[in-house]
């Protein structure tokens, strides 16, 4: 068996980006949450907001650190493993990625120091401002990365010169057809993911009767947010799906397990798409629902995978199931927020042990949905890296041998399997400790350190310069 650098590089990219995306999925939402808490604290002077913010900022610090270092891996992948993609497409992709680095990364990394260490060094408004800038930074980051990703899905505003992409109109490049849908769908997913972590952690402590005031506040305000966002996300997902149906019908056909083009297509609830036999086995179908969802008409025409050549089809089984996992989780979340609303109506939100237990169990749901959604959109783009323009197989670094990638992939696998569990272990320790009392909260966020930058330790006292 020969080692194929294309498959291996794809696996490696999948591995490093899947682990990386878990952190933005969490930190984007958390940064926004912290900014809101700091803003509320600044406005109301209510110490509860302050204590909640301190607690989550500790968790944010560790997650963000891991996000930074796993993020550094990403741009290098484009060069080391996908150099022909870089050479061919970077006139368009390069500036988008560089803008991400410029606007976002710096905003986050620079103001983060103030947020974590600087509460006593700067006035309260400046600390709140730093929190807002960190949140703005994470959102900018999402904006540019998703602009680049969307352009690869639905390229626009370019021309080809000598086999390379050249940008013609940057507004068309950035606001390409799938970008607004993808951006809103992904950012909402990140917020929802964080929301479910917050209510899960709040539930964990409420069940144990600890930090009751803080955890009730967390649970209540976050559930309000989720009650709005989860239904909104289903609508955004539907809009994103229709957009994909319009621009990438092959992806939709694979997600739905449709092989034949038909009017009044059924919705296949479960089944197993067989790429070789060109059928979906063991299909359980609901008549007409497929057309209804995709075309919003009972007899709308839905194209099947057979319309595309064998070499141009994405792998249907992966897409079929990753899509169902994502949607299934979304519906589960809807059930949870509906239940929460009903409990709140009856005044039993904080002391229904069974519901709190469910909240705890829901902590990983958002992450799973984000990964499943990401697989759906990225695998659905195959066999293209830039849709209908550059094949993934033509994007890989020519000098790369399969053996090289086996080694690097093995290194990344081992490193991430060490680093992630270890980090999780410490994150769980912070979570279990819960929101701390006033005294401990007064120290800088990296407050477990035995020594501090002198000015942080000495409070706002300005010491004489030597």
């Amino acid at each position: 068996m020969t080692l194929d650098p294309v498959i291996l590089s794809r696996l490696q990219f999948f591995w490093v980006v899947s682990f990386h995306i878990l952190l933005p999925a969490f930190t984007v939402g958390l940064a926004c949450y912290i900014a809101v808490l700091e803003g509320l604290y600044l406005k109301t002077k209510d110490r509860t907001y302050f204590l909640i913010s301190v607690f989550w900022t500790k968790i944010f610090a560790v997650s963000f650190g891991l996000g930074v270092v796993t993020g550094i891996v990403m741009p290098f992948q484009f060069g080391t493993n996908w150099s022909r993609f870089s050479d061919t497409a970077s006139n368009v992709i390069g500036p988008l990625m560089a803008y991400e680095g410029l606007t976002a990364f710096f905003l986050e990394a620079s103001f983060l120091g103030i947020l974590l260490f600087g509460r006593k060094l700067v006035p309260p408004w400046a600390h709140c401002f730093a929190a807002v800038m960190v949140a703005v930074g994470t959102l900018f980051s999402s904006f540019w990365i998703l602009a680049a990703n969307s352009w690869m899905q639905t390229p626009a505003g370019y021309e080809m010169v000598d086999g390379r992409f050249h940008a013609l109109d940057w507004m068309e490049v950035i606001f390409n057809p799938s970008f607004p849908y993808r951006l809103s769908h992904v950012v909402t997913a990140f917020l929802v993911t964080t929301g479910f972590v917050v209510i899960g952690v709040a539930a964990y402590h409420l069940r144990r009767g600890r930090a009751v005031e803080e955890c009730r506040r967390m649970l209540s305000m976050t559930l309000w947010l989720l009650t709005a966002l989860v239904p909104l996300q289903l609508i955004l997902g539907d809009m994103h799906g229709l957009n994909t149906f319009h621009h990438q019908p092959a992806k939709i056909a694979a997600m739905e397990g449709h092989w034949e083009t038909q009017a009044g297509a059924p919705f296949i609830v479960v089944g197993w798409p067989d790429q070789q036999a060109e059928v979906t086995r063991w299909a359980v179908e609901i008549p007409y629902l497929g057309s209804l969802i995709l075309t919003h008409e009972l007899n709308g025409t839905v194209r099947g995978l057979k319309e595309w050549a064998h070499d141009d089809r994405p792998p249907a089984a992966i897409l079929f199931w990753s899509f169902r996992i994502m949607v299934g989780i979304g519906l589960l979340m809807l059930l949870v927020v509906t239940t929460a609303t009903w409990l709140r109506w009856n005044g039993r939100l904080y002391d229904s042990a069974w519901f709190l237990r469910i909240c705890e169990a829901c902590i990983p749901l958002g992450f799973a949905a984000v990964i499943a959604g990401w697989i759906t959109t990225e695998v659905g783009r195959q066999p293209w890296v830039i849709y209908h323009l550059l094949r993934t197989a033509d994007a890989v670094t020519p000098s790369l041998s399969g053996g090289d990638v086996v080694v690097s992939l093995a290194v990344y696998v081992v490193v991430y399997l060490v680093v992630y569990p270890v980090t999780l272990y410490y994150l769980f320790a912070i979570v279990r400790a819960g929101p701390v009392g006033e005294e401990e909260a007064a120290s800088p966020i990296e407050g477990l350190q035995r020594s501090l930058p002198a000015r942080a330790a000495a409070g706002a006292v300005v010491e004489p310069r030597p």
Binding site: F64, I430, E446, A454
Partner: protein, 337 residues
Amino acid sequence: MTAPLDFVPLWTLILGFGVFMYVLMDGFDLGVGILFRHAPGDAARDLIMNSVAPIWDGNETWLVLGGLALLAAFPLAFAIILPALYFPILIMVVALIFRGIAFELRFKAAPSSRHRWDAAFHYGSLVATLAQGFVLGAFVQGFRVEGRFFVGGSFDWLRPFSVLTAISLVLGYGLLGATWLIMKTEGTLQDWARARARRLLIWVLISIGAVSLWTPFLEPRIMERWFSWPNVVLLSPVPIVTLWLALWVWRAIDRRAEFLPFLGAIALFTMGYVGLAISLWPNIVPHVINLWDAAAAPRSQAFLLVGTLFLLPVIVGYTAWSYWVFRGKVRAGGGYH
């Protein structure tokens, strides 16, 4: 098409600035990590780590900026150089991962497992620096290129010259780290840093000399650049100023100056950087592809330039602000209630 404006010189400056900022800023915090393991005692290690804890991730973002600027402004160079450095880059990012999480987790770890994070921080810093030194050495030696692709082997970077540059970079970052600690600490730790800085300065001078003498023999064009008439006279200030600077740093350490040794170490790095630029100009893939041939389309360079010219000063501004906020000596947490 009419001839568009030439953005290449400006982008060369920006890229050069970004890479240099990275070398200086992550240089001193990697250097601090290299020295860390030999520090006198656990309390000293706490202080050392805290002297860079609030700023390291900001420093590291310059690496991302450098990489992305290369991708965006000189994509052909990016597409050739990175494949050639496949393994050094892999080793570097993995080392940076371990080092980065050591920052987050060392203080949260139980005392019994703290030594593991000490090791992660130290070896992460050391290995990342070695990897960067190999990158530098391989870069100066040049790559085998056909058309638009790197066609060499996966281990072309591993040569005697790049071993020398790797060791030199460890010494150089060590010097930056030691002089940073002179500035940020006091008492016995500062005395220790001073002793380290003095010893490292001698070794840095030796390695600058060795690299400088070896480099012209790598490539006839570099030899010609430095030793042809009248260049040999015009460029003679470079080694002379370097030597003078080294002497100046030595004296500053002797006078127990607080800030000047760090400034001097930065100046030494600047001279090394200038020397490198003189050797390689105008190529970005050394000896084969020049800046203009590797450049992105003018429209792409222009689009990014608009934002960069606005954002780069802002970035430098708030980087300076966070350094200002965390200025002064680091002390043990005793003064805090």
